[in-house]
């Protein structure tokens, strides 16, 4: 019953608040796995950091619910920057705030507008971190997801199907970080030892995109 309508600008503030709930739940559920992934190549706190950030974001948005999709993204981004405590805070915070500002004050937007806003946000992440695809970072999930989203929307897919394609591409991108050697962040100091580990940031990015897809199909827990 939470599935999207078949046409029209369907992404509104309520949709993104449902996404936030779903994302906070999945981060909570997967926090220990994210910590485990972060253990051999980082400081084993990615899951705990993300959980703290998403709990704070859900609380803040619950107390003062923004009435536009852009407002929700900006509010979540702000909370992530102030509460995560690791590099994923300013990176995801920049992604969501930049995307939210792109959406402006519109009460509801199309999937294509959301795609463009997310593209601006992900470009902001790439600029902030100075990373590119192949560096074994969250970008290895985010850029393939954007490409899949664009391709599906351009081919006339429904919003739900396009977001589903984006989530699948993010999963594939996260898995594809396993053989990569890290070139950014602390993992890059490990050199060869960073190989054979899935990047925790690409993994959390895939979780957030799966939450978006689940929100669109109404399959969110």
């Amino acid at each position: 019953m939470n599935a999207l309508p078949a046409d029209g600008p369907e992404i509104d503030a309520a949709f993104l608040r449902r996404w936030l709930d779903t994302a906070a739940d999945v981060i909570e559920r997967e926090a220990a796995r994210l910590d485990d992934l972060d253990s051999p190549i980082g400081d084993a706190d990615h899951g705990g950091n993300m959980r703290r950030g998403f709990i704070a974001a859900r609380t803040a948005v619950g107390q003062e619910p923004p009435d536009t999709p852009g407002g929700v993204l900006v509010a979540v981004g702000r909370q992530l920057i102030s509460t995560v405590g690791g590099a994923s805070g300013p990176l995801y915070g920049t992604l969501l705030r930049r995307a939210g500002k792109e959406l402006g004050d519109e009460p509801a937007v199309s999937a294509a507008r959301l795609r463009d806003a997310l593209k601006a946000g992900v470009d902001g992440v790439a600029q902030l971190g100075g990373a590119a695809v192949g560096d074994k970072t969250m970008l290895d999930a985010l850029y393939p997801a954007l490409d899949a989203l664009s391709g599906a929307l351009d081919a006339g897919a429904s919003t739900a199907d396009a977001l589903s394609a984006a989530a699948a591409a993010a999963d594939t991108g996260a898995t594809a970080t396993i053989p990569l050697r890290a070139r950014k962040g602390r993992a890059s100091y490990l050199g060869e030892r960073s190989i054979d580990h899935q990047d925790p940031g690409a993994t959390s990015a895939a979780l957030l995109l799966n939450a978006l897809s689940d929100t669109a199909t109404g399959t969110a827990a």
Binding site: R52, G85, G86, A87, G89, P90, T94, R97, L128
Partner: protein, 136 residues
């Protein structure tokens, strides 16, 4: 007779509260006695453990802002990224700059230079120059 020029403030952002405080203490001690020093450590994460706290950074910057600008030095990853994100969103006082400098050596250079009444550009240049001092 003109009013004294307001000093540039310095904020030291480290993943560790102990590191930020110790570097601030070292830099202050090396300015010599009797000088005014505006330096504030912003170390550790939102939960008090290792990490970066944007609120600690913003409040430290406000506390050393005397209108002459604030030079921010940061140590690693999230410390650097958080300062950049705060600057991009205008959440730090006007005239706040992230200074590209080695953390400890740059902090000493920045604090000593600021305590002598130099402007923000001179403080930034002094901190950045610490990169050029080779040790071997």
């Amino acid at each position: 007779m003109t009013a004294p020029t307001p000093l540039v403030g310095v904020v030291l952002v480290s993943h560790s509260a102990a590191v930020a405080e110790a570097v601030a203490g070292l830099a202050t001690a090396l300015t010599g006695g009797g000088t005014d020093v505006l330096v504030e450590p912003a170390g550790g994460g939102p939960d008090g453990g290792l990490g970066t706290s944007s609120e600690l950074i913003a409040s430290a910057a406000r506390s050393v802002d005397r209108g002459a600008g604030v030079a921010v030095l940061a140590d690693l990853g999230s410390a650097v990224l958080t300062v950049k994100a705060l600057l991009a969103d205008d959440e730090l006082p006007d005239g706040t700059r992230l200074v590209d400098a080695p953390f400890l050596e740059g902090a000493v250079a920045a604090v000593v230079t600021a305590s002598a009444g130099a402007d923000l550009t001179a403080v930034e240049a002094a901190a950045a120059e610490a990169y050029t001092y080779r040790k071997t």
